[in-house]
Amino acid sequence: MVHSCAKCQQRATVYDVGGSKCDFCFQQAIIHNFKTTISRKGLAQFGDSVGVAASGGYSSQALVDLLGRSLFEREDGKTSRMKLKVTLFHIDFESPLHSSNSNIEVIQSLAAKYSFRLCTARDNHSCQQLWRETFERIAWKDFKDTSDFEELSRILVYRMIAFLAQSQGCKIVFDGLSAHSVCRNILTSISSGNGFAIPFEVSPADISGRFFDVAIHHPQYDITDRQLMRYVWIRKIDFVAPNLTLSRLTASVDSLTMSFLKDLEEQHRSTIPNILRTSSKVAVPLQFSYCSFCRVPVGSNGKLVSPLTWKIHDKKDNEEKVVTRLCKACQHRQRRMSMETFQLFLSSLMAFDKALEYKEDYG
């Protein structure tokens, strides 16, 4: 049986929310969704300098392509009204989760297509210094499962992206989080005791101010993984597949949650919109602080999390007393890791945050 596109009656190739669509109408729908999110949620204004966190995965490749098409194309052949200066940021340090060489090639080709600038972490001294002090010095035997490893990578990567954006004069960064990723983050926040962070996770705009002047927005927050994958396949965009050896089904909380969401969605199609809609009913708290480790907003119905005092050694090996606040997830993380590794990470991250806040160089 041949299905027709609900809009143009051509032969349909995609079965999506809203009915069957042909390739062209599907792409137009995704672009329209993307542009509407940016304009309605106020993610960027005319003439802004915008950074894009490009990992080379299908989600961020789709984001770069959507941004490029939104800026340069219109159906009626007229020039697009969106005017943004776009820079791509890529963290190209080697880690067990991904190899940077193949990532950079796919990003470079897409950047060249739309004449976007590409800026990598290896070219930035501060990011190199942070990487050297943290990832290259930790003892891998400290990690009992890949969850902590993935979470620590994410904590470092977001900070480095914010630093790179600031160094290039970008106050806004777009990242490729899809609807599935947002729902995964909501569920993992709840299950790790960070229910306070739900309104910040679900909002496409970064309302937390966690990276000081730099805001990291999610313009693809209501586009599902299936739609993004389909888009990337139709447009024949190269991307780097995730490292499957490290992402076994139960290797981490993130992969467990993602596989659960995808399985549930097969039986109950409205799972993702349900989670987004319910989470958006949670109020944004008026008073909160930030976790010193992961920069997630912390607080408990108006009460701030009790501060902890740490002794941290600075570069001259002087001991310094520092007051920190840790979210529930980081408190558990601290118990799972060795004290030495945790203190190493904490001291480096706090110093990096200071450099980010005061726009100084790190190291």
């Binding site: 709840i190 467990l256 319910t278």
Partner: protein, 357 residues
């Protein structure tokens, strides 16, 4: 390799309390378990001395352990609670009749009085008859609504001050996830408000003096199971024959996988609930009123149990749980409010007639 108990460091450990990463021997585990329940009761003022306490008893491990622990705490701290077992007979052949025998055995073992309420008495319908009409989907919706009201009615009959149920930390965490996954923001809001202690309906003290409390809310299901196993308590371990098709199974499966990786996840979910605050529209408490048919507390003119009963009597049970059932309930509400007006008008007329004569 045998480990020593983390608490007494004398006996060998028999159980790992995952959320606190402690290895405990049997005696220390009993103490830990009973102290956790006692602390919950004391800190949240769940039960007052001298009250008549109805224990919702299904014969399962949760209610059996609850009855046992409350009896022990009552004797140990001299609270003078008047403990009653309250059981509901849903009329599920091959399941409920067996579990009721277990409840009767609990009554004999713990020497507590027992009162049984049945669906057939209250609603003229058993769950087997309900399932034969509506099928295997959404039957938990009917059973849940009927059981809640049945427990309230039973507690009223025995003149209890408070009704305790065996809901544990796993149940509450599952409910939170379930409501989030289904997009049921009304129930999600209510569970947040209940956890924050701010869910109170207006005029509750006027209509209903029976409080509902969950003394086992801080305890994990695994700990309850181990307590019942070590204490050799007799309980009924079979799942309801209609349960496998419930949506809750998805949330449970996810929670169990999460607990295997991170044992403290369940208590973290409860902690997350206490951190959430709701928008003003969501946190408005609902006004309690009495159902015009049966007199039970409800947020609507006619309670859900009466609506379901009406739809079952009409042979339209399936519609009651679907969207189109909303119009059915509105019709029912309209019919009944009109008939209530006619009744009150008739009474007023007859009073006038009586006073004039």
């Amino acid at each position: 390799m045998k480990r020593l108990c983390s608490h007494c460091e004398k006996a060998f450990a028999n159980i790992l309390v995952g959320r606190e990463d402690k290895y405990l021997c049997r005696c220390c585990f009993y103490e830990y378990f009973e102290d956790t329940v006692h602390q919950t009761i004391v800190e949240e003022c769940l039960l007052q001395p001298g009250e008549r306490v109805a224990i919702g008893a299904s014969g399962g491990k949760d209610s059996t352990v609850l009855a046992y622990v409350l009896k022990i705490l009552n004797e140990r701290y001299c609270y003078n609670w008047d403990l009653w077992l309250l059981s509901v007979d849903e009329g599920i052949h091959g399941y409920r009749d067996d579990s009721l025998r277990t409840v009767e055995q609990n009554r004999d073992d713990y020497k507590l009085p027992l009162y049984i309420v049945s669906y057939s008495e209250l609603y003229d319908w058993t769950m087997d008859q309900v399932v034969s009409q509506i099928g295997r989907k959404s039957n938990c919706t009917f059973c849940g609504v009927f059981r809640r009201q049945a427990l309230d009615r039973g507690a009223e009959k025995i003149q209890a001050n408070v009704l305790t149920t065996g809901h544990n930390a796993d149940d509450i965490a599952e409910t939170v996830l379930l409501n989030l996954l289904r997009g049921d923001h009304a129930r999600f809001s209510r569970s947040v408000m209940e956890e924050n202690g701010s869910y109170r309906t207006t005029d509750e003290s006027v209509f209903n003096k029976i409080r509902r409390v969950k003394p086992l809310k801080q305890v994990y299901e695994k700990e309850i199971l181990m307590y019942a196993y070590f204490k050799k308590l007799k309980y009924f371990a079979t799942e309801c024959i209609y349960a496998p098709f419930a949506y809750r199974g998805h949330a449970r499966e996810y929670l169990k996988s999460l607990e295997r990786m991170r044992p403290h996840s369940i208590s973290d979910i409860l902690y997350s609930l206490s951190c959430i605050s709701l928008n003003k529209e969501e946190s408005k408490t609902r006004v309690a009123q009495q159902c015009i048919r049966c007199g039970s507390i409800s947020s609507q003119t006619i309670c859900k149990a009466c609506q379901f009963k009406t739809s079952l009597d009409r042979g339209q049970g399936v519609l009651a749980v679907k969207r189109s059932g909303m119009s059915l309930s509105k019709q029912t509400t309209q019919c009944c409010s009109e008939s209530a007006e006619r009744v009150s008008q008739y009474e007023a007329d007859s009073n006038d007639a009586a006073s004039s004569s």
